[in-house]
Symmetry: C2
Subunit: 379 residues, 2 copies
């Protein structure tokens, strides 16, 4: 006799994504309010900071400590902020993850306590995996400090580290408790990283948001010139588009194979691996976007005029659409690796218009080759 029970589970997750300035100015109540809403009395908080960020902004740990002291009614640091490796090094091994586990243990942080992680997307991915797996999940407040992390990497539901030489091989799905983006922390970010982050804004605009695309075209000169207000607006709108996609896309934990927001990413991941971290994620994404835009055009999905608009925007933002590593890339192998990571059948997003995409399940290799050659020729 066989008995089958159908189980259905529908957890819900709610979290705020706040964009502010000078989050650690004691007069800024964003963080204190979030902690206050978590219950009575001071909440235990363990703080971890991206060492690259702290190198550029050595006063940060002190400002965090002073803020906690000023808001002692709602937050209690369990120890001084920990400074841990940032950038892709944070994801290269278990050191950051392990440090977060040890912090939760030393500080007796429980599932109702907080880890506050401050840093770039890579740092948040590693620290986030640690927080998500200690006690099966200590509350995580992410404070993203790069453009890419504020507009994309820091607002989603994924974390992870690299393993077996593969990006994000080990990780989990785990919504944060809150995300607080401090625009003022971007002041120390090198221009190169600011631009790289804007590639994700172009991407999300291209696949789902024609109005945002039009606005980015308007903002491009100011963004390229380093205008702060323009960057704030672009970050908020880009994050919003990502958040809407995750909430409304019907598959927040990516149980299926489709990943619209991975437009351009098959090549980006391969370029990142091929250049061993010399290319920023966003820089690789810009090249990947350009390649797939031209491929969409050459296969008749996208008009030439729209393809040129997309490439012009990348150009106007100062994003290179070519990298020498693309010349040597085994594109078939890269697509196969991407398929394998997503799982199952190949799903690639291609453009059918500005803000419109479809899925393709196979690639026309000669056209892809031609798109690469065209891109090489544009340099």
């Amino acid at each position: 006799m066989t008995v089958a029970i159908a189980q259905h589970i529908a957890p819900t997750f709610d979290f705020p994504v706040v964009f502010t300035r000078k989050a650690f100015d004691p007069a800024n109540s964003v963080l204190a309010d979030i902690l206050a809403q978590a219950g009575a009395g001071p909440r235990k908080v363990g703080v971890v900071c991206d060492a690259g960020l702290v190198a550029a902004d050595p006063g940060l740990p002190g400002r965090v400590t002073a803020y906690a002291a000023a808001h002692g009614d709602v937050m209690a640091l369990v120890e001084a902020p920990l400074i841990l490796p940032g950038g892709e090094a944070a994801k290269a091994d278990f050191a950051v993850v392990q440090a977060v586990w040890e912090l939760t243990f030393r500080g007796k942080l429980c599932r109702q306590s907080f880890v506050l992680a401050i840093g770039g997307g890579a740092f948040l991915d590693a620290a986030g995996f640690g927080a998500a797996t200690a006690h099966r999940g200590v509350r995580l407040i992410r404070m993203p400090t790069t453009v890419l992390a504020q507009n994309d990497a820091g607002v989603g539901v994924k974390n992870g580290i690299n393993y077996f030489g593969r990006k994000n091989y080990i990780g989990a799905f785990a919504p944060p408790y809150a995300v607080v983006s401090d625009h003022a922390l971007l002041a120390t970010l090198p221009r190169r990283d600011v631009l790289a982050g804007l590639a994700e804004a172009v991407k999300v605009a291209l696949v789902r948001d024609p109005l945002f695309f039009a606005r980015l075209v308007e903002l491009a000169p100011r963004l390229a010139a380093g205008d702060d207000e323009a960057l704030f607006e672009a970050n908020v709108r880009c994050a919003e588009a990502h958040l809407q996609h995750i909430a409304g896309g019907g598959d927040p934990f990516e149980l299926g194979s489709a990943r619209p927001l991975d437009f351009g990413h098959w090549a980006a991941h391969a370029l990142e691996e091929a250049t061993r971290g010399e290319l920023r994620h966003g820089e690789a994404v810009a090249v990947g976007i350009a390649l797939d835009t031209l491929y969409s055009c050459r296969t008749g999905l996208l008009s030439r005029a729209e393809a040129e608009q997309a490439l012009s925007l990348l150009d106007a933002l100062g994003l290179a659409v070519w990298h020498p590593a693309l010349a040597d890339l085994d594109m078939a192998a890269a697509i196969e690796a991407f398929r394998e990571h997503l799982g199952g059948r190949l799903h690639l997003s291609m453009l059918t218009g500005i803000g419109q995409r479809i899925e393709v399940h196979a690639v026309d290799a000669p056209q892809l080759e031609a798109a690469r050659a065209e891109l090489a020729g544009r340099q």
Copy 2:
């Protein structure tokens, strides 16, 4: 200027929990049907088996391989079944987790491929953590092979390993793709483990299911005598009660502090740690249930008659309600450790009737002491 976006995510998870017999008889289509529904063509499957189970049933890996061969249209084993440490040893370090990561890498398992984990609750917890974190989640089919795993540990959404000497310190929430319980695999399970598993049935009946409690009282003589049909029924009903609690309790991922199904578990966890694995989880739970039942009675929540019914059922099932380690237990420290693991305020379930519970947030230490003394005296 501060901009706040409210993100709301509502993923849903559906999975079957099937109770069958001789799942690897090629004529049994349960597993093949589950894989067939996952899409066209043979699905890649990596198999990991609990070494304790295989020691008792050495033919198992061969039967799995033969089953896969007979159902080659829907399943393709990526390699021969791996035999990995079972029991609490599986959770003592990262070896099982690491072996699952390596299996997914060697076998190029993706998020649409499968890990089939066959073993006791401890083995499933460790292998499940590995599967949940490779590619942020390879599909996991759990095949629980102890009574406790079939009626409780194997049907939920949690996994984990022990760390820093603490039970389940590292882990995640991750619903399985399917659960297939093969009753025939229980044939090799020592009587001690069969009985231990029944403690969870008593627990879930006591906190939420008076009809199941009444049925357990009826079944108790047959269960104690090793009747197979009685055990099948008890397992299905117990699993059903757990599944209903998880699906309907409003907090499947345990974001709050309340954990009704942890009735009796504060003492159980402490006894397991104190005896360093000498006590089975279910044996420890039986003692914990008895203690908290008497405490509920002594604090006026539960009638004496009902407390005696609960203790009589444990007795009729052959479950000891006392262990010498309880005499030495620092109960205040154990309750504090439990509070810390759940997080926030203390939440303990106590009984107000058979199948009825309330939450208490503090413990009357002299009454708890008296309950312990009463239990000691009953031996």
